[in-house]
Symmetry: D2
Subunit: 275 residues, 4 copies
């Protein structure tokens, strides 16, 4: 049984929580706690070896925690996601495979593409695919159509798996803290368009990828995970892009696992990640 | 203030510990807990934001913990070490530099070498160096002389920084849990002599190094840290040895930091490391 | 245009080869050469910026190289593979996805499984799947049936993508230098069965995976690529296995790319890899 | 014997070079060649198994290469360096240790510090240390005094080992292509002051370091090597700085090794590195 709590900090929170668990004869077999002293925030993730009634536990924990505490009990198996894509397949295919074999930690409800390139792969996995073109539409019209499509589902998260349109502040605000993006650079290096071309021209020796929540600015939200791979002078910008796809796939997969297992807390523009 | 506890597990330990801390108005700002369910062992490392009287706290914690609990309060600044070497300089020099600039987290009491190659570098840092040759002596005689030299000091740990003699079970038993070794391979691959030659002949694409406590067998104790670096066909066995020295230095430095900060717990043949 | 040559070494080989290319006005834009001095073997991989008639070039190169020289011109787009699997999906799925999107650098002819678990995923990608059970058969009978199935195709390579049966020396000899295996450990550590359980019990801090050619012994052939990931005390053997699958997928994908691009040379029990 | 050549590219250069070597009965045992097609530059580094008269070889190679070709024969053992520092010891100490044990691949002629903190460690290794304060001087006056000190030596390279003053374009121009700097971030992320504070505030999950040649702008020159280490929410900006020092030491050591072995070519704002 996993218990995850995020709230304002004060002295005695660990004692208060662990007393509740001890009364229920729950043994804490693994626990990560962190206090952000600057922000006065308390984060804990713990695993107990037995089960207890979830509603009772939730109520008893709520009684000993500050108002506004976020308490999640047994988060694992319940996530639902919608995936937004453009043309590149690598992140989507990895998600579809894990979804199909039951190792994603979430269920893919549908995929929305602003091009129709990835419809066939979705069909092969019996996942609904909606082509919502951005062409001959205002951004507002395009986003409204995406929102309409999403609203037929109730996703916990919307995964931007190489979705190459910049979203408006309105769209982002609507799905606040639910939007996860994979950016094809080691942020904050190479913000914006064509990071591999930028990396090639700068002659870097490492390239990276960043999975992050989307807040107001597309490349500026709280970072969940980052990875890099070495590159050298023999790679063209196109080669770097190709090599980068491997790391993009890998880092998005890692970030989704962390989020779906409720290991990621967001506060202001940062994350606390209990790996 | 850092508090580290290792004891038998039972339900309610976190509650018991955190209640003691809460009574003293100590806020837990960072906490790592782990229970080894198979072995029924409890491990915790926590940091609180204020200080309290250490003796009082120790006694109160002891009262709520199982018999035999190991409790360490504020472990950081007190370690003392003796370093054993042979001819290779890289690990020793790194230790001497950190010691000199006060960033080792321990004080080097003296260095003992079974050759005198590294005497001059010790002199340059005003660290006593004892050349204790193994030649024309039985192993027992050699080790007795090393023990005699060590016994003039009271080290918390004895660091085998590329000490190339196999120690007898008697020697190891005498300094049980105090001996830290750097082995020049990714254990358990290439146990024994000349691992770089073995690695070269096997044609591996990665080589590694392992820092571990020494128990009965030289390369068989609980592992503290391991790292690797990529190699390829252009490296001879000698090149691999040279490349390996970099990773040996780095992994021993990391292991010592973890041990000196009381982040490493040993039980049977394994470690729990709260990085 | 890519040219790859492997032969006995003697003085003047680079001059001989580059003279042939210069006569055809081919500019060498990238070149990796290596001589194994111990074994007296010469390896080169080079890329030229223009094209020439392949047959003419092949003949002219043959004339200036030692007898028995292996010369490959423009190797890239022609590989064909058969994949052998058991129950685990992760390596196969990655291969099928890359095959479907045309980025594998090879064509998957068919998949053979000694269980039928992975039939459906093959069907979804229109790849023939043959279930060849090993049950109620001798090893010889089982392998003969696998050979019969393979013989309907003409694969350049047979990829053991988590195929969990040990192959007989006869089978291995038949497909010599065509068999590529992914082993779920950092060889030569944890040879044999259940490496993750071995790794867990030894308390290692890194686990790895190894892609290698299969020669006589299943885990003993020339290593193509190896990678590792960090682990710690919180992982059970089952968790290590799960984490290991990620690195198995990644290292097999890398090894296949290297092999399919003719970047890997095999001689005796080692490889030369021009990454 | 190592031969390194950098020149304008044209067809037949490899043939021309290798013919010269073959005539001298020199066998090429390892060779890396790269052509930058965009810039029309040719780079080669090769190792031969025998020796020949260096002057003869140099002349014969010059005769077959384009005007302006840079030819270096047997570069390894001849480098001389001056090191500039401020207060931080980690990079300097690593250089002094390698210098003392003869594994730096260069000789440290002297160390210049704009503070006197690191004088004692230099004295312990019998390396001249000059304290040249920047206080109560104009930048021009300060730099002139540094130049005067350097001019008593004839360094091949000037290593900025955590030298925390921004150098004027005049200074940089004077020592063009001789200045090597270690920057405490993964460039081009966090250019400028206090990168660890920037990294902390952005909440990145990796921090890095970059060794590069200094051209006009302090953090903008050709990159030689980069490395990263993972960080997380438990690290303060000060912790990141401490962790970063390890990677700064390591990446500068690597860059110096590459440069001192003539494995690094510079052209415009990029490097070609034959590792």
């Amino acid at each position: 049984m996993i218990i995850v709590i995020h709230c304002k900090d004060h002295i005695g929170l660990v004692a208060a929580i662990s007393n509740v668990l001890a009364i229920h004869q729950l043994n804490i077999v693994s626990m990560r706690e962190h206090v952000d002293v600057q922000e006065n925030r308390f984060y804990v993730r713990l695993q107990v070896d037995q089960t207890a009634d979830e509603d009772t536990l939730h109520e008893e924990l709520q009684n000993v925690l500050p108002a506004g505490a976020m308490i999640t009990i047994n988060p694992l198996p319940h996530k639902k996601i919608v995936v937004l894509v453009t043309k590149e397949y690598h992140c989507l295919a990895d998600i579809l495979i894990r979804n199909y074999f039951g190792t994603l930690g979430a269920a893919v409800l549908c995929v929305i593409g602003n091009h129709d390139h990835l419809g066939d792969i979705c069909n092969r996995f019996d996942i609904p695919f909606y082509a919502v073109s951005h062409e001959q539409k205002t951004k507002a019209e395009f986003e409204q159509q995406v929102i309409n499509t999403i609203s037929n589902y109730e996703p916990d998260y919307i995964v931007l798996a190489k979705f190459m349109r910049i979203l408006s502040p309105d769209f982002v605000a609507r799905f606040s803290t639910k939007l996860i993006n994979i950016h094809h650079s080691f942020l904050p290096a190479f913000i914006g368009a064509n990071p591999y071309k930028q990396a090639f021209e700068r002659g870097v020796k490492l390239i990276g990828a960043t999975a992050h929540f989307v807040t107001n600015d597309l490349d500026e939200g709280p970072i969940i995970a980052q990875q890099i791979i070495p590159v050298n002078h023999t790679l063209t910008a196109a080669d770097m892009m190709k090599a980068g796809k491997e790391i993009e796939t890998s880092v998005l997969a890692k970030a989704l696992r962390l989020v779906f297992e409720d290991r990621v807390f967001v506060y202001k523009n940062k994350t606390v990640v209990f790996e």
